[in-house]
Amino acid sequence: MQFKTRDFSTASRVLKIRKLEVGLAGRPRAEKVLKGIDLDIRAGETHCLVGESGSGKSVTSLATMGLLPKDALEVQGGLIDLEGFEITSATHAQMRELRAQRIAMIFQEPMTALNPVLRVGEQIEEVLNMHTDLSQAEAKKRTLDIMDQVHLPDVQRIYSAFPHQLSGGQRQRIMIAMALVLDPDLLIADEPTTALDVTTQLQILRLIEEMQERHGTAVLFITHDMGVVAEIADTVSVMQKGEIVESAPIRELLTNPQQDYTRKLLTAVPNLKPRPARVVAEKAAVLDVTGLDMTYGGSGWLRRSEGVHAARDVTFDIAPGRTLGIVGESGSGKSTVARCIMRLIDPTGGEVTVAGTEISRLSRRQLQPHRKHFQIVFQDPYRSLNPRWTVARSLCEGPINFGTPKAEAMKHAAELMELVHLPTDALDRYPHQFSGGQRQRIAIARAVAMKPDLLVADEAVSALDVSVQAQVLDLLDDVQERFGIAMLFITHDLRVAAQICDDVVVMQKGAVVEQGPAGAVLSNPRHDYTRSLIEAAPGRHWDFANFRALDRAPAAQGATS
């Protein structure tokens, strides 16, 4: 693994934050959101701010931009110095002048960060109109020029496109162009690649790097992903609960973390090394999917539409006690397959056999008795439990549907709580009283309460912080071992798949491009697409948990682009 090792001690200091305190607006005595932060960034440097959700990294960036939501948060102490200019005491007009010219920002979600009703060219040009006296023609020329610099194709056409007509990567390029058009000294990038697929993420990271080199911009890069940090950072600050717990050059931090929290964080980061192969028991498959097809829409009235082929001829099976992962980027059809198997949608073709019963053609009524054999855990822990129901009621719903007496179901629910490491008195509480990870445990308990043969986990850990993610993955493993459940694990993250899956199916645009044992697929990908996925996985050469490079990095033989 190659880390950046440039030395910036001689470069001029662009941003200096000292003892920055941010608290709830109008409530100076309440607990602070930022509790006295120090931060330095020098010209040309990429400084990564890393931490879990709620650690205060985004608040830091917004405070620097002077964009704290005015009803909610306010700076309550300390200073933010941008090349000698004190931001915390600047007027609105001064801040306006500063923005885009000296300090610029790109955001996580390029879809929502661009104004959907204005042409993207206009949105870039607006920066020029606001801050320069360029004529219309000059402004347009400059706009097209910067669009060219961020490697947008066919800039004349894209200039007059609306955001929704562009891909996620293109939108983020527009954001970058907009941020850099006036050549600011500091670029703040707040999770700029989190919403993108890995392959796009890689391109955007490369682009930021390229632009930074070309313009000599200092970059404050905010991310939760240690892999990304390893790829791009010169220096790193780790944040936890409004404080910076550790700050160091990248190599130092990854090899020799000083703080417990940093260690804990790093230990939880998954890597691409496949799990050790497990013994294959010779049992009949619990789930057998053959030739599954799913087409949405099609043949409208007055206007014929083609329909979207979300899944095409998908075939695989899972034996009891084993985990099969379906991996792919957004739009690959992986969730469609999961939903077809769960019969939340009705497949348009193929067969799905669960525990010996072909279910893809059963009516709702016919299907009902078979429901207990297969259960699902969803991605969003905040929406997968009925907010109006106590945990107990949620846990008992399934068993009661299948005739278990209420008292027995309650007793079983209590046992389940122990199984997922939650106190039994939590049964009487409502979901909003739990954290995301805890809710996901409850969702798992609810699924397990049915004693299913198959558990489908649809991006079940994607919304969780890495440390929590690791715990939940452990729990799933534990549950599987205890009950011998077959598990279908849907994820976009190869690293997570590597952690938990015995077998892997790689999907692209609704079709399976490669499938096989995890070890084989990840170490020896045969398909170009698989290979590009592996290649794009950030920090794939580093074994974060053990603070060293991976002994045998997953190969990307005959690497592509």
Binding site: L67, A100, F107, N115, P116, V117, E126, L302
Partner: protein
């Protein structure tokens, strides 16, 4: 786009058909006898019976419906049972005042309400916000006729700026039109302003919390540009929607306002027709207002795409 509009137009057919059947049945079930109002107080039962025969009121219901509906498809709205005039002529005479007042109301309302709502949202939780919201809640809370009386008392009787009542069409002179249309329009506008200002504020509040507004501010865009160029256009769709659905409220208000200000519009025509059981007029008017309502909302829906390029039909 064309296909969409065609589809929507076709979709209005069942709606209007249901309206037609519903109104027809409702009226025929309602007690009342147009023959009796036609003949007056001293008519004998035998005379009434003969008149009913003449008017076709003694035919079986389904025959009456088919006759009426068939005529209507041919563009014949029928003849008023009471005044024996062609309903289409009545509509032609009466629609102008109502539409002119309605359009003026919409213009006044939008011109007042949108800036009010934008500023209230911008100055969220300040006294300006409070003042705008109080005004709009108040606008909902006072009966239309009371507002009308107060305006007449102040502007027509005390100040004598405008006439007390009446209507003049724009072709009689713009001055005459405005001086008579301004009070009814203001009266109607109170509710409409309240409605649109609330929706503008709510929609703007939502939009102002969006990422792209933050992006615009991060670009150093001036606040008025943020509000009107970036935010308002994005907030437009719900505002347009409320203007469309609020149209129904406007029609209800028109009925009252036309009485208070003595405007010969379709609101009064319809109320009078209901009270006189003048079936062809009621049926035609309700179908007409329903049709206008549907059309206005179709126009509103189509206009979404002017504001939001994501909406394409």
């Amino acid at each position: 786009m064309f296909v969409y509009i065609l589809k929507r137009l076709l979709a209005t057919i069942p709606v209007l058909l249901i309206v037609a059947i519903f109104v027809f049945l409702l009226l025929r079930l309602t007690p009342g006898d147009p023959a009796a109002i036609l003949a007056g107080d001293a008519a004998t039962p035998a005379q009434l019976e003969r008149i009913r025969d003449r008017l076709g009121l003694n035919d079986p219901l389904h025959i009456q419906f088919v006759t009426w509906f068939g005529q209507m498809l041919k563009g014949d709205l029928g003849t008023s049972l009471i005044s024996n005039t062609d309903v289409l002529d009545m509509v032609r005479d009466r629609l102008g005042p109502t539409i002119n007042i309605a359009v003026m109301t919409i213009i006044i309302s939008v011109a007042l309400a949108v800036p009010m709502g934008v500023i209230a949202a911008w100055r969220h939780r300040t006294w300006i916000d409070f003042a705008v919201m109080s005004f709009s809640v108040l606008g909902f809370s006072v009966p239309v006729f009371v507002i009308g009386y107060i305006l007449i008392q102040v502007f027509a009787i005390e100040l004598r700026w405008v006439p007390v009542q009446g209507y003049a069409s724009p072709s009689d002179g713009i001055g005459a039109f405005f001086s008579r249309a301004i009070l009814p329009s203001l009266t109607l506008a109170t509710i409409y302003v309240a409605l649109i200002a609330r929706m503008t504020r709510a929609s703007m509040l939502e939009v102002l919390g969006e990422d792209y507004v933050r992006t615009a501010r991060a670009k150093g865009v001036r606040e008025n540009v943020v509000l009107f160029r970036h935010a308002l256009r994005n907030a437009a769709v719900p505002i347009l929607t409320i203007i469309g659905t609020g149209f129904a409220l406007l029609i209800s208000g028109v009925v009252v306002t036309e009485s208070v200000f003595n405007i010969p519009g379709i609101g009064r025509l319809t109320v009078d027709a209901i009270l006189a059981r003048d079936y062809p007029v009621i049926q035609a008017m309700i179908l007409l207002t329903a049709g206008i309502y549907v059309m206005v909302n179709l126009i509103v829906d189509v206009s979404y795409s002017f504001f939001d390029p994501r909406i394409r039909y």
